[in-house]
């Protein structure tokens, strides 16, 4: 906390030392506001899990319903064929879907959470100083908590089906990469969301589109190599999000490991997007107290 109350200098004139990074306006000043973030997370989780009779089961209702609907429509009615599970003993579309859906839910949650968090708490920024990214980081942690619950349920089911391997241990790392990737995008969108009123609508549409160009409700193998003269399958494969959902399926369902190259690539993409978004957010929010 000591560092954060230091100079209110301009970002450009800062020297690159640990003190400068954690100072007010510094890229990592968020560290000094751990207490605030913890409080925000606690508030969000508290309102979600405490106030209703069913507790946290209630918060699982929405993801469970989504899963059930997609499993019914795509697995039962449209008869999409899941590959065989890693242990070679069964195949199950719902579980295959769930492995990718957990990733998508986290991605979607971080982006929409970051956007609404800044709008919700931003009005405080005109009255008291705190790093503007704090609400988004709190939203991220909340989403990670939810994702951890969903993943635990999924893993528990898979373990019961004796479909388990050391690849499970890699999954949290994958989730972390995804979270950083989503936070980078969410931060940029949250600034636009404050400035332009149609960003909320547009991002809903884009996210919906993104959901269907990512292999979540279908396996990538179902997509034809070429359609309308375009290499569709390669395009979908190049979507960074596809890498995460596919890798999640490989780790949990296929008990396969994606290889160092792909993991390294995902790490690189997520760190680049996360850091880029973070920096852009820092620059764009220097005068945010005047805009809100």
């Amino acid at each position: 906390m000591k560092g954060s109350a230091g100079g209110v200098g301009r970002l450009g004139s800062m020297r690159w030392s640990w003190a400068a990074l954690t100072n007010r306006g510094g890229v990592l000043e968020i560290w000094g506001y751990r207490e605030l973030i913890g409080r925000l997370v606690q508030r969000e989780l508290g309102s979600r899990y405490k106030r209703s009779v069913l507790g946290w089961l209630w918060s699982m209702l929405n993801p469970a319903a989504t899963l059930a609907i997609y499993a019914l429509v795509f697995g039962v009615l449209l008869k999409f064929d899941p590959p065989r599970a890693g242990n070679g003993r069964f195949d199950n579309f719902a579980l295959y879907l769930f492995c990718a859906l957990v990733m998508w839910n986290a991605f979607y949650g971080v982006i929409t959470g970051a956007m609404s968090a800044l709008l919700d708490l931003g009005s405080l920024l005109g009255k008291v100083y705190f790093p503007p990214e704090a609400p988004a980081v709190a939203a991220l942690l909340t989403v990670l908590f939810q994702a951890a619950i969903e993943a635990s349920i999924l893993m528990l089911i898979l373990i019961c089906l004796v479909n388990v391997s050391w690849t499970f241990l890699l999954w949290p790392v994958l989730l972390l990469f995804l979270a950083i990737f989503a936070l980078g995008i969410g931060l940029v969108l949250s600034v636009w969301n404050v400035r332009y009123r149609d960003v909320g609508y547009l991002s809903t549409i884009v996210l919906q589109f993104l959901f269907y160009v990512t292999p979540i409700v279908y396996p990538l193998s179902l997509i034809p190599e070429r359609a309308m003269g375009l290499p569709v399958r390669d395009i979908i494969r190049l979507n960074p999000l596809s890498q995460f959902t596919e890798a999640s399926r490989e780790l949990l369902y296929g008990l396969d490991w994606p290889g160092l190259l792909r993991l390294g690539l995902m790490a690189l993409i997520s760190l680049a997007v996360g850091a880029g978004g973070w920096l852009m957010f820092k620059v764009r929010t220097r005068d945010i107290a005047e805009e809100l």
Binding site: G6, V8, G38, L124, K127, Y129, Y196, R197, V199, A289
Partner: protein, 408 residues
């Protein structure tokens, strides 16, 4: 760390008064606003300088006062000091944990309860939870909100907001406390409590930066003062000098500006306005300050846009703590001005000023003949300066001019 708690160096602050900003991505990309049919790319913003080249130093452990008329940049300067606004030019250095109480309800989130907001505010200021756990009851008690602390703050009255805001701001162990004129909203008892709390914080070494219109209070308590005038630093230094310089311009500017822009409580149309208040001595002069015991004439200038029958004029005398000392009213004193129309004045004459030394503010109001409808009121705008060293032998605010006798 140095001996200064806050250093402001050549700070300027420019706001973009955005006349026509794209409100959606669609507008930003096409450059068009539907309906207007024209591009707003060219006229985007008009810079407005709220502060220009302000430099000042607030010594550690001092109480620092800021004065200035409305719109002179005081609140902007406080926000820059608190780190909420980034200076366009120059530099601000705040050495220590800064707690700011700006406008109503400092940093409250309306949907959260008072208690949750206490925790939220404390965590914003970096106070660990364990420490705030111990303080919550103290804060609630100071604010007098025992019954409402678990209700969302959006249902609070403005007084409750301010009380809670103040209580939080002073109980989080700030090293620098920045207070806007918010405290004036609370009732008198609470104001006194706030002020004595500020005093005790200062004695513990907390640096306090204060904005107020209460010149008497500032002069009596501040170690240093600064006066902002239209974003420029007009005077800085000894409180007595700054207040005098400020009062001088209020006198001259006040007289000059009365004609075109009276500042009144009642906005909009009213048939009868108070245009000015003047203080005369017995010889018909207008001295800068009076002595206790002198004669005083308060002249209320009015302007009536239509004839008004027997309006009631009243005055209110207040000390620097906003304590209501006297409130003469024309109809109570048996005075009826008759029909008033156009410009004119009414006088209240006092043979001997009963107030001891200090700055007193005088409010004036005018009502209809049965004192049920308020035509106009001007408050906290006119200052009566009673000069002279405070007599250590005398107690209280007033000279009662009684005599003493003995008997058995």
């Amino acid at each position: 760390m140095g001996e200064n708690a806050v250093v402001v160096e050549g700070v300027s602050k420019r706001f973009r008064v955005t006349l026509d900003r794209p409100l959606s991505l669609k507008e930003a990309w096409t450059g068009l606003r539907p309906g207007s049919g024209r591009s707003f790319r060219r006229v985007r913003s008009e810079p407005f300088w709220a502060l220009r080249d302000i430099s000042l130093e607030v010594p550690r452990g001092s109480m620092y006062g800021l004065v200035g008329r409305n719109g002179s940049g005081k609140s902007t300067l406080l926000r820059v000091m608190a780190g909420i606004y980034r200076p366009t030019e120059g530099r601000v250095e705040a050495n220590g944990r800064t707690s700011a109480l700006l406008e109503l309800g400092a940093g409250f989130h309306p949907a959260l309860s008072g208690r949750e907001n206490i925790y939220l505010n404390a965590s914003v200021l970096g106070v660990p939870k364990s420490q705030i756990d111990d303080r919550v009851e103290q804060i609630v008690e100071f604010a007098g909100l025992e019954e409402f602390i678990d209700s969302p703050v959006k249902i609070y009255s403005s007084g409750m907001y301010v009380r809670l805001g103040f209580a939080v701001a002073v109980h989080v162990d700030p090293e620098i406390l920045i207070v806007d004129e918010v405290v004036a909203v609370g009732d008198e008892e609470f104001q006194l409590r706030c002020f004595s709390h500020l005093e005790s914080l200062r004695s513990q070494g907390v640096t306090i930066v204060l904005v107020s219109h209460d010149l008497g209070m500032l002069r009596a308590n501040c170690d240093q003062m600064a006066w902002l005038n239209r974003g420029l630093l007009a005077a800085v230094g000894d409180p007595q000098d700054v207040v005098n310089a400020y009062l001088d311009t209020i006198d001259t500017e006040g007289a000059a500006s009365v004609g075109h822009r009276p500042r009144s409580d009642t906005e909009g149309e009213t048939p009868l306005r108070i245009t000015n208040l003047e203080f005369f001595d017995g010889a018909g002069h207008r001295p800068k300050s009076f002595a206790s015991g002198d004669p005083l004439v308060v002249r209320i200038h009015y302007s009536a846009s239509e004839p008004v029958e027997d309006p009631v004029f009243s005055l209110g005398f207040y000390d620097h703590n906003n304590l209501h000392l006297a409130g003469p009213r024309s109809h109570v004193d048996g005075f009826r001005p008759g029909k008033v129309d156009g410009e004119g004045w009414v006088e209240f004459r006092l043979l001997r000023i009963p107030f001891r030394s200090g700055a007193f503010h005088v409010n004036a109001a005018v009502q209809d003949s049965d004192a049920s409808f308020l035509y106009d009121r001007r408050a906290r705008e006119f200052w009566l300066q009673i000069s002279g060293e405070p007599d250590p032998q005398a107690n209280g605010l007033l000279n009662l001019e009684g005599d003493w006798r003995a008997g058995v």
